[in-house]
Assembly symmetry: C2
């Protein structure tokens, strides 16, 4: 399949425009052919209008039909095979094993959501049947369920070119809910985006989905992206990326004549709390696990453990020494793109220059971006310095870890209280530790979306119970998750039908429960 | 119980302040004793700090304990008896039957939420147990459920002095979820608010709830209300009232360092679509039902049918004539307060003076506010005029109805497309009508939270399936409902626990399902 570099509008391609970009291989800094043409205003409006018209049709497709579409997308992605792996590796610098693993995660996710909607119980169907003889007033027949919101715009992430990108969790859950999707491709992997988009296009045609159920636009976030979020046809936004990018979209969405929900996952420092007895019992395994978690994917995960809170004592020192040894022995690896590479270099330079911070592993790599090498870095500071200098709590996206040394429980509690909203919070603790430090759990629960015990935050399982969310600024909406089947509810709203004729009700709400789903009936 | 006029901060009362207001009897325009002292900044901060500290304790109370609290609030409200009825009637101009009925609705709602949380299945408990042998990577044990958001501020509504006020749906669902509540009392019925708040205070003491689980503040929306929404301790807002009031709170909440959700129910015109065959078959019953729905509670309901779409034909004319007759014979009644009365008079004056609108029933009442009499009004306009003049789609809170006459299906569809988000949409249709006009259902479904067939929108059942919501500007968040048991989810967020020791899990997530609730287990 030849990559064409043109935006995809439903079953068609947009014309070439006057401006274009090329993908860049971060391992060499050189451009990759072909050019990708930026979508013009007319193309943006065309995609939005098409999605709006299609919504009426797509939202009425049965769950079985939508499930067949999702399953076919997974098949079509698998059918691309080697060209997808090659292109994705070239555009992201990620190794083959990771790209193949992530492809599996992506197709697995599509099939999980297909089975979710095939089952139908996700839709929160509730029925209160009429009570015509109730006094003083009869009760009407009322039935409600989750229905799709409308066309959704998805901003692809750079750090998961497949699982959080064109056919990633946001797209999959929106399509599953019954919403047409327009993806704003990430400029870091446009070729990968096009390959996946064509797979979705093929699957839509093959399973009889309406034209416009899916579009992919190339172009800048500040032009194409902002225009999409401001467009009246759009009813919700999914985003994974920087705090600056996410909050900019939140502002645009809030200022619309009709404000719409933005689900922005903006990352966090994912504090790890190491309690004393656990440390003394498991120096080697904690140092090892932390090292793997901190350097996995060159640290380019939203759940990367950026801040580790360790007691200032001999056992803590021993752990720090082992961790530093391992980080020192880690080879620098290619990061995703020049923007991320430069931000990482700037971030660690700032810490190196902060006189309240000790540099244990410098992490200094090459200054130019060819290649974009990221070297593991370790910094150490005291809890009191960390509490005084707010900049130390900022996320540095990449394989850098800041160790914060606390003296006593009061200092540890103050440290935890100082954190803003986080995706995860991790505790390593023995039973004795949990008894001695029981107060920290309630603080952590107020701050995070997922609490991890005696393990590490990276590796987000795609399952029914997963919560990949957390209070602002980890996400724009701490009530939601962008991973796992709960993610579908972001793109729905409840609708009630009062005294509706049976024939006009969605199957989920009909008498006799023809779909055999779990419902709440009274 | 003597009404004291002082804000209630947990188990205590705030001191008297320099400024105060008195309630006004809308049937006479005269003041009612005693004065109610406006909360000062210090009092606001005190209530917020207390709620914040209390959250840690209250959120850990078992569902059984919270249910006992809610049930006891219902008991304590019933125990007030006659003084509550007398005071509420005096402050609102509503008749005894309505106040007694609304008290029953309020206590019924408290007991419904008590049974909801006692059952426990509402909490969305999900469990994915560990798969240590899974290849290539083991699956950890992950469990998640809905947990309370934090302290909630509730703005009481004027039009339901009990069911949407101090112990109304917002307060009840937030307390049920595990969130402390601070109510900003409505200045239209401060005495009623205090009586109810003292009942909550007593119930909290009697059932061993922590100090600060509930507070009631007197004062202006622009001072006390804004300060509460901006306060960092507050994590969500419930509001029922005007669009101006609701959107002002949305703005404050969005501009916070940590933006928080605002659930503002701002009302709508609740379009009623009358299709031709249904009209010809049921002139008398439709005219009668519409008249009751339009004038119930002097039209002061969010679900009041403000705009009725009727075909321009002889059958439609016959219906209009019967409806006008009934509205003409309706005695003017006392409205809730001078602000609402003046807004209603201004609204109908604007329609009277609009040369595209025919005044069928003038609705003119007294110009001053002693008493605040609201007379039923009926206006008529064409679909094309309605489409040209956006002002005709504005809500006029009170017993005024605008009849919009359409010529054909295209015009009706254009009419429906022109509506902004609405709480409800009503259709009167025979089977033949539904066949002839099938396209309107999809349009309506995009616009409203509840579709009503062959009935009327007023009368919102408090039950599991109710959706009292709808796209902006009907509400600030069309994904939610402020009536029915779904309302509880507004004040929660999902939290996941990974590899947690059993003893640290909420009971809802423990092995063996000790609470016997409905869970999703994999």
């Amino acid at each position: 399949m030849k990559i064409q570099g043109r935006s995809i509008i439903g079953f068609n391609s947009a014309p070439q425009s006057d401006t274009s970009i090329k993908a860049i291989d971060p391992s060499t800094g050189s451009e990759i052919e072909p050019p990708f043409y930026n979508a013009e205003t007319e193309t943006v409006n065309q995609a939005a209008a098409l999605a709006s018209g299609t919504f009426q049709i797509y939202s009425k497709k049965s769950s079985q039909e939508r499930a067949a579409f999702l399953n076919e997308i997974a098949n079509q992605i698998e059918a691309i095979g080697e060209p997808l792996v090659t292109r994705a590796m070239q555009e992201t610098g990620l190794p083959e094993g990771r790209i193949k693993g992530e492809t599996g995660r992506t197709t697995g996710q599509l099939r999980l959501f297909a089975s979710l909607i095939e089952d139908g119980s996700w839709s929160q169907a509730r029925i209160d049947t009429a009570l015509p003889d109730r006094a003083p007033l009869p009760r009407p027949d009322i039935r409600s369920m989750s229905r799709p919101l409308g066309p959704v715009v998805v901003f692809a992430a750079s750090n998961f070119p497949l699982a959080f990108s064109t056919a990633g969790g946001d797209t999959t859950s929106a399509l599953a809910a019954g919403c047409p999707v327009i993806v704003k491709a990430h400029s870091s992997h446009p070729g990968t985006a096009e390959l996946i988009a064509r797979a979705i296009q093929k699957a839509a045609e093959k399973t009889g989905m309406p034209d416009g159920v899916f579009s992919l636009l190339f172009g800048g976030g500040r032009t194409v992206g902002s225009a999409l979020v401001a467009h009246p046809a759009i009813k919700a936004v999914g985003f994974t990326g920087s705090t600056a990018g996410g909050t900019a979209l939140m502002e645009i969405a809030a200022k619309r004549a009709e404000p719409i929900p933005v689900y922005a996952e903006m990352g966090s420092v994912n504090p790890v709390v190491l309690l004393p007895e656990a440390v003394s019992q498991n120096v080697e395994s904690i140092a090892n696990g932390l090292h793997i978690s901190a350097t996995l994917g060159v640290g380019q995960f939203c759940t990367n453990p950026g801040v580790v809170c360790i007691k200032k004592d001999a056992r803590g020192d021993a752990l720090v020494n082992r961790f530093v040894e391992k980080m020192n022995n880690t080879a620098a690896q290619v990061m995703l793109n020049a923007t991320i590479h430069r931000a990482y270099c700037d971030g660690i330079t700032q810490l190196q220059e902060n006189d309240k911070v000790a540099t244990l592993v410098s992490g200094s790599g090459n200054d130019d971006d060819s290649p974009c090498l990221g070297a593991a870095a370790v910094f150490e500071t005291s809890a009191s310095s960390f509490l005084q200098d707010e900049s130390l709590s900022h996320e540095i996206f990449g394989p850098g870890t800041t160790l914060v040394r606390w003296q006593n429980k009061e200092e540890l509690l103050a440290l935890l209280e100082s954190f803003q909203g986080q995706l995860t919070g991790t505790i390593h603790a023995s039973e004795t530790d949990l008894g001695n430090y029981s107060e920290i759990l309630a603080v952590l629960e107020r701050k995070v979306g997922r609490i991890v015990y005696n393990s590490f935050p990276t590796g987000v399982e795609v399952c029914h119970s997963m919560v990949h969310g957390g209070p602002f600024p980890a996400t724009s909406d701490g009530r939601s998750t962008s991973v796992g089947t709960h993610a579908i509810s972001r793109f729905t709203r409840l609708i009630a039908y009062q005294d509706s004729p049976q024939s006009l009700l969605p199957d989920e709400l009909k008498d006799g429960n023809p779909l055999g789903i779990v419902r709440l009936e009274n």
